[in-house]
């Protein structure tokens, strides 16, 4: 059963990794603007001009 020590160590390490990743994301400003990317992704590079059809 002593494998539990190792497993818990791994799980905590993994969780710390995610926490660190979140901190990094927060610091690098990825969560500053949570709205615009949702609109931006819908804009095609060159939409078909309906007027020309």
């Amino acid at each position: 059963m002593s494998i539990i020590y190792f497993l818990i160590g791994c799980s905590v390490l993994l969780a710390l990794l995610f926490l660190g990743a979140f901190f990094w994301a927060q610091k690098s400003g990825q969560n500053d603007d949570l709205y615009t990317p949702s609109v931006r992704i819908l804009l095609d590079d060159e939409p078909v001009d309906e007027e020309k059809k």
Partner: protein, 803 residues
């Protein structure tokens, strides 16, 4: 093709909408490609975009633009490095990064166009839009372009950046990054792990696995450390600060709860007496922080702290002795300098008029909406907006000493909001804390003579179980739900405490110009017939008068030749008389003009009667453009005391008496008068709400218990206030009042529920036999109950009020 043809026909049959901005076209401006525009500005934007191959701007949305039917301010001052250094985020010898606030950003087309700026201007490397903040971040090449050119380009395509003094100042003061999110992340991380590690304890650990219990216990304790030392520090700090001020607020029992939870856990784990309350401790802090986050709603696009600085330009054109114009930052303007103010620009400092015809609109400062003529040599006070040709002035006082600035910096205006009523939770938490301490010490002394350990256990258990987590959460969750509901109804509150203020209001004071009337939208109609000569006579008479009605008539007949007046007299409140070319002209109210036939006055309009040589000529009827839904004021007057305070002359008294009680209308009130009026009401124990729109109301808005700035466009200037109300939502005011009262009852109810949980928990706790499992269940259970109850009840209340 056929479909397209018929679509085109139907669009012609209907009202024509501008292809660019979608406004109704009063005059048609035909542009390229058979498109119709409302104004020249919109047409130009279209041609710029279509020539640069950015026509798909119009494909994402219909009429994506904002109307360009106004003259843009001049941006020459952006060539002055001293001014721009505060505006720029970063610059070196290669490129410059700058962030602009652009109020016109409103749809996906805006994002697309602004992020494709480099197709219009190759010097722009990078542009990124933050939609909610209405900001665009631009990086451009220094050698190929300049700030002036970039701003000019943005303006040319209809996205004029708002550059004001306050932005410059705001940038310098900001930079304080907030740690709440980080704290929540840490608390969530610890809470999750602790819960996982506590499970074996609750499910039971067999005898031969006792070493695990120890291991889990130490791990739990380790996870509690960051919770107490990092996440929960605010509670300790706040409780300590409040204790020093001899105030018992809700943070005290919370801090006590956290501390006791941690100490008992540490004690039990270290002495291997039990498992402790690590999960309750982490959960408590986690939920409390969530409550804090919910409470803190930010409106990126609104500012409640605007003051005169955001209203003033960044720089002014100054002419030096040699007659050369250059831009000078506002703060560096000195007495004696000659400044040039163009149409629609604001006069930033008290100055003497040197040249040009000054027609200054002081509506922001005084509430008086009709432009005032100033003669050469007269002092023009800061804050006025020049309408008409460019004028030249000599500064007599620096900006910081000018009338408006001094008014603003007046002590009464900068009052801090100390005398606000205490919120419900503030009032209750004092008694709650006292009660809690009584029970805790009571159980301690009850067990002390018989069993020391049990006494200590009971004492700590009481503090743990009665920790007012649910109580602390009920207000933020209810209020934030209420805030988002009001937000949907175009009523934007500064913070959650304002909802409670709203429920306690018993007196409402309205400003007139811009608040219940739409400023500058008077409709003037002339009934009668005049010859050109008679028109000149009447015009010349009115031109002598400073009365707003005379000014309106002069505006109506603008361009008429002015004749020399032989004699002129004005009887205040009645009318004016003049003698011109052997003719006697009388203009005034119904009572003033006695001769001839007089038409029946309409109830909702102000009428001005005209008489030449005692012969009735006709009358003007001036209909103020009132906001829609003003009937609500009548409804409100049954339950609230309603006053009208106006900086205007009283010529609309009659028209308004249908809405307001004539005895409660007050005209010609200066900003200071308004402030004193509110103060007087408050001295009589009234809870006053002030609704106003301009700088002239700013003091009153601050003094009142709840200041609401009303505006037609929330991105426009609005004075500092507790709440911003969109003009179209004014008719929902009674619903807002009722809803705020409902929200308060929801808080009372949730307080009752959390008390029930506390009583149940206390019955375990006082006996000293509180198991960690019960605490671990009771705390989250009560939290979840409160959160779901408050949000559901608030939304039900909103539905009932049709919000």
């Amino acid at each position: 093709m056929l479909i397209k043809q018929s679509m085109k026909d139907s669009s012609i049959l209907e009202k024509l909408h501008c292809y660019h901005c979608g406004n109704d076209c009063e005059e048609e401006y035909l542009g390229p490609d058979e498109k119709v525009f409302c104004c020249n500005g919109c047409r130009e934007v279209y041609s710029v975009l279509s020539q640069s191959g950015l026509g798909s701007y119009y494909a994402f949305n219909q009429h994506p633009g904002a109307t360009k039917d106004k003259i843009s301010p001049r941006f020459e001052y952006l060539n002055e490095p001293t001014i721009t250094k505060d505006l720029i985020d970063y610059t070196d010898d290669k490129f410059t990064i700058v962030t602009f606030y652009i109020p016109a950003i409103h749809c996906s087309s805006c994002i697309w166009l602004l992020e494709n700026l480099n197709r219009l201007e190759p010097a722009i490397y990078y542009s990124r839009v933050d939609f909610l903040r209405k900001q665009v971040n631009i990086r451009f090449d220094n050698k190929l372009s300049s700030l002036y050119k970039v701003v000019g380009l943005l303006d040319k395509i209809g996205y004029e950046p708002l550059i004001s003094l306050q932005d410059v100042i705001k940038k310098q003061t900001s930079g304080k990054k907030d740690k709440l999110i980080k704290k929540i992340a840490v608390a969530g991380f610890c809470f999750g792990n602790v819960m996982l590690l506590s499970f074996p304890e609750y499910l039971g650990i067999s005898k031969y696995e006792q070493t695990f219990r120890q291991f889990f216990g130490f791990l739990n304790l380790a996870f509690c450390l960051p919770i107490v030392l990092y996440c929960g520090t605010d509670y300790f700090r706040s409780a300590w600060a409040n204790l020093k001020n001899r105030v018992l607020n809700i943070d005290f029992p919370l801090a006590l709860g956290i501390a006791v939870l941690f100490l008992r856990t540490a004690f039990e784990v270290l002495t291997q007496n039990g498992s402790g309350f690590a999960d309750t401790c982490c959960g408590l802090v986690f939920f409390l922080l969530i409550g804090k986050l919910v409470q803190r709603k930010t409106y990126y696009h609104l500012s409640f702290e605007r003051d005169y600085r955001s209203f003033f330009p960044v720089a002014v054109q100054v002419t030096d002795e040699k007659g050369i114009e250059h831009a000078v930052p506002l703060a560096e303007i000195k007495v004696g300098q000659r400044i040039l103010i163009r149409n629609n620009e604001i006069i930033p400092a008290d100055a003497i008029l040197l040249q040009g015809e000054a027609k200054v609109d002081f509506s922001f400062v005084t509430g008086e909406s009709v432009p005032v003529n100033k003669v050469l040599g007269e002092v023009v006070y800061a804050g006025g907006r020049q309408t008409g040709e460019a004028i030249e002035l000599e500064v007599v006082k620096p900006v910081s000493q000018s009338y408006l600035t001094r008014l603003w910096n007046n002590e009464a205006f900068s009052r801090t909001s100390e005398n606000r009523t205490k919120t419900f939770s503030e009032k209750v938490s004092k008694y709650f804390t006292i009660g809690l301490l009584l029970v805790a010490f009571g159980s301690l002394f009850f067990w002390l003579p018989t069993d020391f350990h049990r006494a200590l256990a009971a004492f700590t258990s009481v503090l743990i179980i009665a920790c007012p987590c649910a109580l602390a959460l009920s207000t933020p969750f209810t209020m934030s739900a209420a805030l988002s509901i009001l937000d949907k109804n175009q009523f934007y509150l500064k913070n959650t405490a304002v909802v409670e203020q709203l429920a306690h209001i018993d007196t409402i004071v309205f400003d007139k110009t811009g608040t219940i009337t739409v400023a500058g939208a008077d409709k003037i109609t002339f009934n009668g017939q005049v010859t050109e000569y008679q028109k000149q006579l009447l015009y010349s008479t009115c031109a002598n008068s400073a009365h707003p009605l005379s000014r309106l008539i002069c505006q109506y007949w603008e361009g008429t030749t002015r004749l020399g007046t032989r004699s002129y007299s004005e009887i205040p409140g009645k009318g004016i008389s003049a003698a011109i070319d052997n003719h006697q002209i009388d203009i005034g109210s119904r009572l003033f003009i006695k001769g001839g036939f007089i038409a029946q006055a309409a109830a909702d309009a102000t009428e001005v009667y005209l008489q030449i040589d005692h012969q009735f000529i006709g009358h003007f009827s001036i209909r103020q453009q009132y906001r829609e839904g003003l009937e609500i004021i009548k409804d409100l007057s049954f339950r609230y005391n309603i006053f009208l305070l106006s900086g205007d002359h009283g010529h609309e008294r009659d028209a308004l008496s249908g809405i307001f009680n004539p005895d409660l209308m007050f005209f010609e009130r200066s900003p200071q008068d308004k402030l004193d009026f509110i103060k007087n009401l408050q001295a009589r124990g009234r809870k006053v709400m002030m609704i106003g729109d301009g700088l002239n109301d700013a003091g009153a808005l601050k003094q009142s218990d709840l200041g609401i700035a009303i505006t037609d466009n929330v991105n426009n200037f609005s004075p500092g206030s507790d709440a911003i109300l969109d003009g179209s939502a004014l008719s929902r005011l009674p619903q807002f009042f009722k809803f705020s009262k409902n929200a308060l009852s929801v808080i009372y109810c949730s307080f009752g529920i959390s008390l029930i949980y506390n009583v149940v928990g206390l019955s375990f706790a006082v006996s000293g036999r509180l198991s960690p499992l019960i605490a671990a269940i009771l705390m989250p259970l009560s939290t979840v109950t409160i959160i779901s109850f408050t949000s559901i009840a608030t939304h039900v209340a909103a539905k009932r009020r049709r919000l």
